[in-house]
């Protein structure tokens, strides 16, 4: 599927994400202007403050954006708030610095002349200093805004939405069209923002300070009129779109269920299944936070009330969230999880879905043939000669690689952490020989991989189970029954098929979910 047909079939989604992206960027940069400009002015008056303030903003700028997002999650959770805060922090420096420099570059004699003719400090600020600083200040805003558009793409990583969502989802499902559908609008958006702000920059530059234009004032005035029209037009469009948006959300907030999901295809399909099912069977509106992050991000979001529900796996809950050692008895696992989640975190487990997406190790058919591999015990014998590439989560979990190596008593020659579906590509390119996989992964089918049997039953059961905040379930008790209607329909094979449709056939998870629900007669 090429980018154009993707865009055509998913116009609404891309437009929605684009608007999200613009909205978040506007809010973040807007805040940065509101805070940065006064700060810039302040430090130009109180010189002793300039060093610490510029120092701190410089420091923020020096922190890698991913790391800053990482700091934001424990403090602010996931979603739009931490994303806006991080982008806001990054946008501060150019704005503060340019305001400060802009004011300092004004000839001090000019300021003295202004004082000399009896202008007050405030008069001088808004009649002399700000107008003369505006061109430089706007240049700072322009730099900030273009950077912010880019940063906001990364912010999709913590569930902020925006075009980055398509890029991340596309990477995790090896869907180039999807990646481009996020990346290209993001580029165009950045260029458009740059262009429109360059017009603003031109407009705020006093005519007399633009070299050459005074020779042809009439032409300049005409051009300025056109530029004003373009900017006013853009402004009106944004106002209209967001006004409508706010109006909509205002009337909906009371009946909203926020559903989160992890980033891989299965989670996106599950998220969409829940969303569509709930919206079809109730009056509730679902706000999606799909692809918001990994287990820890989603769990803390659920606990903090940033989202109301998401689907996790029993094994994950047991080991990662509740910190128990891996357990193989399925019933036992569900019981422990259900009790402890309710008592400790006030989170309820609905009835588990009928498929077990547990870990597995997979090799290419060629490797399997070469070393005669069919079980993990077979692999243990040759592991010292093999390179492995696993997800970061698998690499660090007790019920992942460390426990597995202990149970089977082996270690790989080398293990590389590769997130998402990139590890399949690494396998195909021969960079690694063994990857971890999920048993329902559609890509196993796509890349024609050989799953090694867990002959010692090391991997605990990973039955998918929807988690929901107890207050939400109390408010909307009908949800339990609605979601329970899914359980018998989703088996390992159906799930693998659905995943295959997304990963291999590059269908939109929302479409896949919709078709499934229609086919099963659930909606």
């Amino acid at each position: 599927m090429d980018i154009f047909s993707y865009l055509v079939t998913n116009t609404n989604q891309v437009l929605g994400l684009l608007l999200d992206h613009i909205r978040l960027t506007v809010i973040a940069v807007g805040l940065a202007i509101l805070v940065g400009v006064p700060l810039g002015i302040l430090i130009s008056y109180i010189k002793s403050l300039s060093r610490p303030i510029l120092g701190i903003t410089n420091l923020i700028q020096a922190i890698p954006s991913m790391a800053l997002l990482g700091f934001a999650i424990p403090l602010l959770g996931i979603g739009t708030v931490p994303a806006v805060v991080v982008v806001f922090l990054y946008s501060l420096l150019p704005i503060i610095k340019n305001t400060y420099i802009g004011i300092l570059q004004i000839n001090p004699q000019l300021i003295e002349a202004a004082r000399g003719i009896g202008m007050t400090r405030f008069n001088i600020l808004y009649k002399i200093q700000i107008p003369l600083t505006l061109p430089i200040l706007m240049a700072g805003v322009r730099i900030s805004s273009v950077t912010a558009v880019g940063l906001m793409t990364i912010a999709a990583f913590i569930g902020a939405g925006g075009l980055g969502f398509l890029v991340f989802s596309g990477i995790s499902s090896v869907n180039t069209a999807m990646i481009l559908a996020g990346a290209i609008p993001a580029c165009i958006l950045a260029l458009t923002v740059d262009w429109i702000l360059s017009l603003v920059e031109d407009l705020v530059t006093p005519m007399s300070l633009r070299p050459g234009v005074l020779k042809n004032k009439k032409k300049e005035k005409q051009q300025r009129r056109i530029k004003k029209l373009i900017i006013a037009g853009t402004f009106c469009v944004l106002l209209g779109v967001f006004g409508g948006n706010i109006y909509q959300t205002y009337y909906q907030t009371s009946n909203i269920i926020r559903i989160g999901s992890k980033q891989f295809s299965e989670q996106l399909v599950l998220g969409n299944l829940l969303k569509e099912l709930i919206e079809a069977k109730t009056d509730l509106k679902v706000e999606s936070h799909f692809g918001a992050g990994g287990t820890q991000v989603l769990f803390s979001a659920l606990k903090n009330g940033d989202i109301d529900m998401y689907v996790d796996y029993t094994g994950t809950i047991l080991v990662d969230i509740l910190k128990h050692s891996p357990e193989t008895n399925e019933k036992q696992v569900y019981k422990i999880c259900s009790n402890e989640m309710k008592n400790k975190h006030n989170i309820l487990l609905l009835s588990p879905l009928n498929f077990n997406n547990t870990y597995a190790l997979a090799v290419s058919q060629q490797t399997a043939a070469q070393y005669h591999l069919s079980t993990i015990s077979d692999l243990a014998n040759v592991a010292p000669f093999l390179q492995a590439g696993t997800t970061l989560e698998f690499l660090n979990r007790q019920d992942g690689l460390p426990g597995l190596e202990q149970a089977y008593n082996f270690s790989f020659a080398n293990v590389t952490g590769i997130d998402g579906s990139n590890r399949y590509i690494a396998l195909e390119n021969g960079n690694v020989s063994v990857v971890d996989a999920f048993t329902t992964d559609g890509l196993l089918k796509k890349f024609n991989l050989h799953i090694l049997e867990d002959d010692k039953h090391f991997f605990p059961p990973y039955y998918a189970v929807p988690l929901i905040r107890s207050d939400i379930l109390k408010k909307h008790p009908e949800l339990r029954g609605i979601i329970a209607s899914l359980d018998t329909k989703l088996t390992n094979t159906t799930m693998q098929e659905l995943n295959y449709q997304v990963d291999e056939l590059h269908q939109d998870p929302a479409d896949v979910a919709h078709q499934f629900l229609v086919k099963e007669g659930l909606i």
Binding site: N107, Q109, L110, E112, A113, A114, R115, G116, I117, G118, M119, T120, N123, K127, I128, P131, L132, P206, M207, S208, L209, L214
Partner: protein, 375 residues
Amino acid sequence: MIKFENVTKRYGRKEILHSISLNIPKGKIVSIIGRSGCGKTTMLKMINRLVPITSGHILVNEKNILNMNPVDLRRNIGYVIQQIGLFPHMTVHKNLELVLALHQYPKRERKERIDEIMDKMGLTPDLLNHYPIELSGGQQQRIGVARALITDPEVILMDEPFSALDPLTRIALQDDLKHLQNKLQKTIVFVTHDMDEAIKISDYICLMREGHIEEYDTTETMLRHPATPFVENFIGKHRIWNSPEFIKAKDIMRPSVNTCYTQDSLERCLKKVQNTSYPYIIVIDPKTKKFRGFLDINSLQNKKAEQATASDIMYCPPSILHVEDTLTTVLHLIKESPIHYMVVLNDQETVAGVITQRNLLKALGEQYTTETEVM
């Protein structure tokens, strides 16, 4: 109008001005002049409180400026600096209107006031829509002066306003300022480092040297009788020759000794002339000693046999000089005069001296001859 009382300025430990006292009279132009770093600009900026006073008082219109709101004080004092004083992002009109707005001039009257001041400064109204950068240096500075005058303040401070201009424009603006001042009679404090400029425009000059006043006097006194060798050196020994209006007939004339009375006989007169080296004698009234006329040696010799008195044949010149007449007048009149010498009278119309073409030449030549000696 403006009074400095023991005004001292210190920056940290460094004292810039040492207890300055100065009285600037109303309606006069006073130049503050000195080398760079002498504190002249500091003095100026203290008047409108751009620079705080360390100790002492400055009174404007008998009121201590420290008791006034600095913004109000500044609004009532015009302030002109080098070209940079105009705001580059505003048109000329906006630059002028800004001051009117600060003074809360009613909107309707602003346009009229702006047109009026433009006209007064000899500027065409089409300049109003231009930005400062589009104007020549002279035009910019005229606008600068216009901005200071537009609210008609009593006091105007000018900080080297013409120093960045080319010489011809500078002279034109100096002339304009003098001309305007004749009409407006403002109290103007003018800081400059250019002695020619100071002499040309000011009524009083205050010469500063390393933070104290070396001499504060009328321009003429300072030129003619510099108080100290420093002042003399600063002015330049022969500076006065650049200002012919300060060279008076009394400076050039030779005191006259040979006079006779109206009733003296010609023979007696001739004898008197022959006793001197001059070819003429001055005839005065025996009682009032007032000037009556000339007798020259030729006519005396021709008519010595006649029984006549001096008053019968004396010659009365068409033009007579007064001691306070300037060099320019002297040169002009002597050119027109049929005889080679002119009599100079003092206020009582008695003879003060005589200027001949020879001693005029000698006086004019002095500036060059002594200069070569010095060199």
